[in-house]
């Protein structure tokens, strides 16, 4: 089998060569250092490093909070996408542009701002404290921070699909006697579900690795509010490079699995997955 399909366009060798070299130097080489460092541990040591109680707690917190935040984003994102696509109101263009703010804003800025807003004497925090709700230094704070940074994902994946929905089908459903809610549940929702799932997974993947937005609000208490990336930094601080690398490998494996999952979802939906 040929390596490359015949083409008269020039520049293949040059561009591919540059691309491959660049990728190797900047991506593959450093990542392989990670793998090599981890392989220096014996299997026993590796398992110990990634299953010690602090690590397990950190995975629980990181993945747990990310999951909840992604669910919240699925709901909020769907709402926002729906409103932006289907309705007209003043300020719509502004809101549409602003949805990307969590993506454009540096994580450290988001971090200190959220920590300050939700602290006991912050603008929002002081309203919640009398109700007994504490945000900073609790998993709730982590969830809120992760929800903030994941906001654009679901919106931006669902928006185009909603945009492209043909009104004919909805009209047909309507003319057959279905109410709006029924139409939504049985006609519209299945169409946007793959996009929703994709957005959810993207938000989830992003949240799992998030560092800057979370460490200011989280409290960083081992076993309770210590996220996995912070644990890696701590291990580095304690000269435990191999341990840090081992935990990093576990996180990477989880992220890659997520990416794979996302592309399967797309393939499945493109080939006609969810049909009523």
């Amino acid at each position: 089998m040929r390596f490359k399909r015949y083409s008269v366009l020039p520049g293949f060798g040059l561009s591919l060569g540059y691309t491959v070299v660049y990728l190797s130097l900047i991506v593959l080489l450093p990542l392989s250092a990670l793998v090599v460092k981890t392989s220096q541990l014996s299997w026993r040591q590796f398992v110990d490093a990634v299953t010690d109680p602090f690590a397990l707690a950190a995975y629980r917190i990181s993945f747990g909070a990310s999951f909840v935040a992604a669910i919240a984003n699925a709901g909020i994102g769907l709402l926002v996408a729906w409103v932006l696509v289907r309705y007209e109101f003043t300020g719509k263009r502004l809101i549409d542009a602003m949805v990307d703010l969590p993506f454009a804003l540096p994580t450290a800025v988001a971090g200190i701002t959220l920590a300050s807003l939700y602290s006991a004497n912050g603008w929002i925090g002081r309203l919640l404290t009398p109700m007994g709700i504490h945000v900073t230094e609790t998993p709730l704070g982590i969830i809120i921070a992760l929800t903030f940074i994941g906001l654009p994902f679901v919106v931006r994946t669902v928006q185009p699909v909603l945009q492209d929905l043909d009104p004919e089908v909805e009209e047909a459903a309507g003319s057959l006697g279905a109410g709006r809610w029924r139409t939504f549940r049985h006609v519209i929702f299945p169409e946007i579900f793959p996009a929703l799932l994709t957005g959810f997974s993207l938000a989830f993947a992003r949240a799992v690795g998030e560092y800057g937005s979370v460490i200011f609000i989280a409290g960083n208490r081992p076993m309770h509010t210590e996220i996995a990336p912070l644990l890696i930094v701590k291990k580095l601080d304690e000269y435990q490079y191999s341990s840090a690398a081992a935990i990093a490998v576990v996180m990477l494996a989880a992220s890659f699995t997520l990416l794979l999952l996302i592309s399967f979802i797309q393939r499945w939906s493109a080939s006609g997955g969810l049909k009523p």
Partner: protein, 323 residues
């Protein structure tokens, strides 16, 4: 169901209005959305400004004029000035080879390009410490030759380059794929050289996508925190970028307002980036070049590596001709 020739840009023609919900439902949903977004988006923005000026205008200006802040600004600008052009060149090269040609291993490369989105920023920094740190692979050699990468500027630039390299590529690959090669081939057959084709045909066609990618790449490069935090030495006035400097100020006694003052600079950058993005999207829609990939969506989903049977309803080659 959406036709194959669906619209690519969400700012394109309005969809024909179908049946809708009763007004009360509509307005409740709009209201709910506004409440949520005000709470989540606008409130943080306002609080940054408020806290920045809470100590008075004088404190604000002093914070920005402080030598450590100035050197943080310089370092941030320097880092972006190196990382962004590097990644632009890479993006163009990657897009050219991946979009215009078919070859074995294409999807592997596409996945590699998407890699940084799957990697936590902390890990992105960790891998460079493992390579170049004093106890890393080349630590000994580097130290012997007095070359300092980790805890010095080169390490910061490297980590930033890693984290931001996909942005330009991800904009260009689907775009160039959607545009096809007819124009380039036509020009070639008329006798233009390879470079001429690139400069005169390809580049103008992708200019809005390129600009879009640069804006995203730059915003991320200037705002990166986690990766840089791991490789920087946090030496005030020397190896602190603006985001790191914000952390330093936030943790300093009596510098709370100063932290937000510096944060307001980056916030301004974020808002400018958003505005620039909107302008580019609008211009691109006008010119018929849509910017296709939404933020952080894996390339494999945006059509470049879509399976043969699945029509991607969002990309319409016919809609993407430069005038």
């Amino acid at each position: 169901m959406s036709g194959v020739g669906g619209l690519a840009s969400r700012h394109a023609t309005q969809r024909r209005a179908g049946p809708s919900e009763p007004a009360i439902v509509r307005w409740s949903l709009i209201g709910l959305t506004l409440v949520v977004l005000v709470l989540f988006l606008f409130l943080p923005l306002i609080s940054v400004l408020y806290e920045a000026f809470a100590g008075g205008v004088k404190v604000y200006l002093n914070a920005l004029r402080d030598p450590e802040t100035l050197s943080a600004i310089k370092l941030t600008l320097l880092t972006a000035a190196i990382a962004v052009p590097l990644n632009v060149i890479f993006g163009i090269a990657a897009a050219w080879s991946l979009a215009k040609f078919q070859f074995v291993g294409k999807s592997v490369l596409l996945t590699l390009v998407d890699l940084p989105f799957a990697v936590s920023p902390v890990i992105s920094g960790l891998i460079y410490v493992l390579l170049f740190g004093a106890h890393g692979w080349w630590g000994g050699w580097l130290d012997a030759h007095d070359i300092h990468i980790i805890y010095a500027v080169p390490g910061i630039v490297l980590a930033t380059t890693f984290v931001t390299f996909p942005f330009v590529a991800r904009e260009l690959i689907p775009l160039m794929e959607a545009q096809g090669s007819e124009e380039e081939l036509a020009a070639l057959s008329l006798g233009a050289s390879g470079w001429r084709v690139f400069w005169k045909i390809t580049l103008p066609n992708i200019k809005w996508g390129l600009l879009y990618g640069i804006i995203l790449c730059n915003a991320r490069a200037m705002g990166e925190f986690g990766a840089v935090s791991v490789v920087s030495g946090h030496v005030r006035g020397r190896t602190n970028t603006l985001p790191l400097h914000i952390e330093v100020l936030y943790n300093d006694a009596g510098q709370f307002s100063a932290a937000f003052a510096v944060a307001s600079l980056l916030t301004l950058l974020a808002i400018l980036s958003l505005i620039a993005k909107s302008i580019v999207e609008w211009k691109a829609a006008q010119a018929g070049q849509s910017t296709v990939a939404p933020e952080e969506m894996p390339l494999s989903l945006v059509g470049a590596a879509a399976p043969a049977g699945g029509a991607n309803p969002r990309v319409d080659p016919a809609a993407n001709r430069a005038p």
